[in-house]
Symmetry: C2
Subunit: 400 residues, 2 copies
């Protein structure tokens, strides 16, 4: 009675790994500023709940495997607003962006196939690619270069004869890096030249700052046959608990085959789709306010971080994460210290240690991902606690 | 740019395959009695909707990957009522029973591994096992023997050195067959003797008729280390569109590893879990009424079926399906006839052709699965239409 090789090679979530220590600290009355998980404190638009409250069918029936038609029509309109043409038949609604990725990798990867991806990467990519029998071929990046990866040299250096897919998260989780139009062009040329599938995760599309323009991969017709866009309402509409994501692809063969998986799980939840359809009915200016709010938070967290001597980071162009190299020997060890030994007037902080975002042994040991998902004053306070924590931790280490 | 071998080997749902023809017939004003899908017309308990309407958090947050604690506690109580002892930490909430199965097979099967299973089987098992890289080793059964399979001889004849898992759906979808206690014992001894994982799908547990007792595999402590129970609220509480299922296993290593998959998809929808928790708060006698209703339906459909000359079937002991061998040459061809050429006063019927429930080439060609999920009078009317349809179809065939 053995387990499968693939499940044994999967990792536990590095983001959720310290949850039990945090729970214990909370139980002891400690207040924890949670910057470890992309769970914003932004209020979910009330139309979501209203639409669900107004649902008046007596029988909660199975829906269509491809997804609720009103929701798909809403997404088509949304895409049109951001310059992406697609039809409702090119979409498949999934249980969050995570299921979208699982289905895509199951549909594309054979055992031993590789997916090219910038490292550090959102750790679930590792899990979901492993679950499909594949593995990540990492493109190394460094904090000092703002985690840039989209150059011909870097991409080709990571390519092997096993590479079948190129994965892009833009703007990036965990680094917040936004590709320039030139970099997007480089990735496109590379995917065409080496005949790769291009999986593009644009769930943070609306969170881009400083007036930069988002160059969606779906704007380029020359790759429409190899492109698979992953999207989700979780961050976009502060609806993480709804678990509604979707796949968009114009490749009919791929769409048809992913539908086999969609049929095998029958359908997505009916009520959540009703709520999600209502979200896509919001005016486009809904995003302006949240974008402004995240920008203020980004600026605040970066300002406070710059007061920490030895911290290395770049102001991120998008999403709501910032990766920081901290002046500590080990970010996991330091996090345990913060949760179990340290507080400032009963308060401490939590982050995601970055080693879980690296596959390459020994990388990211003293890096952390901070999700700026709290109010500005909370973020400032959290960074002040971080600064004091570093001092206390390093003093303790020096005294040993 | 190729697709994975596993996705290419997966099938489209045979249950949903004829939906477009049914939609076209409906558009032309035809009324269709839909016996093709296990979508009951039973009303979803109002507590489900009420609990969701009363949800008053402002931010719809991620939940725990293992599942909502109130829901898990409700399931523990439910299990206790049916004689199964488990703790909330032995459960994992999933997006329906389908995701539970996908996760289990991903955790157990390597490429080439086989899962033993009685044929005909619920077609999604084929898809979900394929998605994990495995395949089904079918145990052949026949209508004339009531699709019985749980004998030492039959089980051993299907065993190979690739067999890693034994799957049981009890009572069965699609056949409605309920295992006797002796048969359960046979399966248990077989699994122990050959050191197999035992995946037991008991989602129809509450739908057992004629005063028979359900012998859950979870009643036998000697297999608790190899047992994985799959369960769901879809049928039990007429909540198909909620997509809430779960896994129960006392094998800590397996539970821990499946949690990697649960973490990779973050969590199940928050609201649906709130509704499901309320369902598990219903009194145990909730099931008495639905069970009585399904029994009446089963008796009605069987009575009408017995008036069709040449139809071969056994009165099913559980679930809400009956498999019937019809006096036609081809059940798929006949279904197309029913949907596109035939009606009785503007009405026709739809069923699931059984060939999709068989893996062995040429099996089930003239068999169908009828889901008795409609009201008694509708079922009787549907069976009368079926009878007339068979006559018309065979007359048309004879005239060719």
């Amino acid at each position: 009675m053995k387990l499968s090789t693939k499940i044994q090679e999967m990792n536990y979530s590095p983001i959720r790994k310290f949850n039990s220590y945090a729970a214990a600290a909370s139980e002891q009355g400690k207040k924890i500023y949670k910057l470890n998980i992309g769970q914003p404190d932004i209020i979910t638009p009330t139309v979501f709940f209203e639409a669900i409250r107004n649902f008046d069918e007596k029988v909660l029936e199975y829906g269509e495997s491809i997804g609720n038609i009103e929701l798909r029509e809403g997404i088509v309109k949304y895409f049109k607003n951001v310059g992406v043409e697609c039809t409702k038949d090119e979409l498949i609604i999934t249980n969050g962006g995570s299921e979208a990725l699982l289905f895509i990798f199951l549909a594309l990867l054979n055992e031993g196939d590789e997916a090219l991806m910038a490292e550090p990467f959102y750790s679930n990519y590792h899990s979901l690619i492993k679950a499909a029998g594949g593995s990540i071929a990492p493109i190394p990046t460094i904090a000092e270069e703002g985690y840039a990866y989209a150059s011909k040299e870097k991409l080709e250096a990571a390519l092997t004869d096993k590479t079948k897919v190129m994965c892009v998260v833009n703007p990036s989780n965990p680094t917040g890096t936004l590709l320039t139009e030139e970099e997007v062009r480089t990735v496109i040329d590379f995917a065409i030249e080496h005949d790769l599938w291009l999986v593009v995760d644009e769930v943070y599309r609306e969170f881009i700052y400083d007036g930069q323009e988002m160059s969606s991969f779906a704007h380029y017709p020359e790759i429409e046959d190899r492109l698979i866009v992953v999207d989700s309402i979780s961050k976009r509409f502060a609806s993480c608990g709804a678990r509604i994501g979707y796949i968009m692809t114009k490749n009919e063969e791929l769409h048809g085959n992913i539908m086999k998986l969609a049929q095998s799980k029958l359908c997505c939840p009916t009520l959540e789709q009703v709520g999600a359809a209502a979200l896509y009915g919001l005016e486009a200016n809904y995003f302006d306010e949240t974008r402004e709010e995240y920008k203020r938070r980004r600026d605040a967290i970066c300002e406070e971080l710059s007061k920490i001597e030895g911290a290395v980071f770049r102001k991120p162009g998008g999403a709501f994460y910032v990766m920081v190299k901290l002046p500590v020997d080990n970010a996991e060890d330091f996090l345990m210290f913060l949760l179990t030994e340290f507080d400032v007037d009963g308060e401490t902080i939590m982050y995601a240690p970055a080693s879980g975002f690296y596959q390459t042994e020994g990388c990211g040991i003293n890096e952390v991902r901070l999700a700026y998902v709290l109010k500005e004053e909370d973020l400032r306070r959290a960074m002040q606690i971080l600064k004091l924590g570093i001092e206390a931790y390093n003093k303790k280490k020096a005294n040993k």
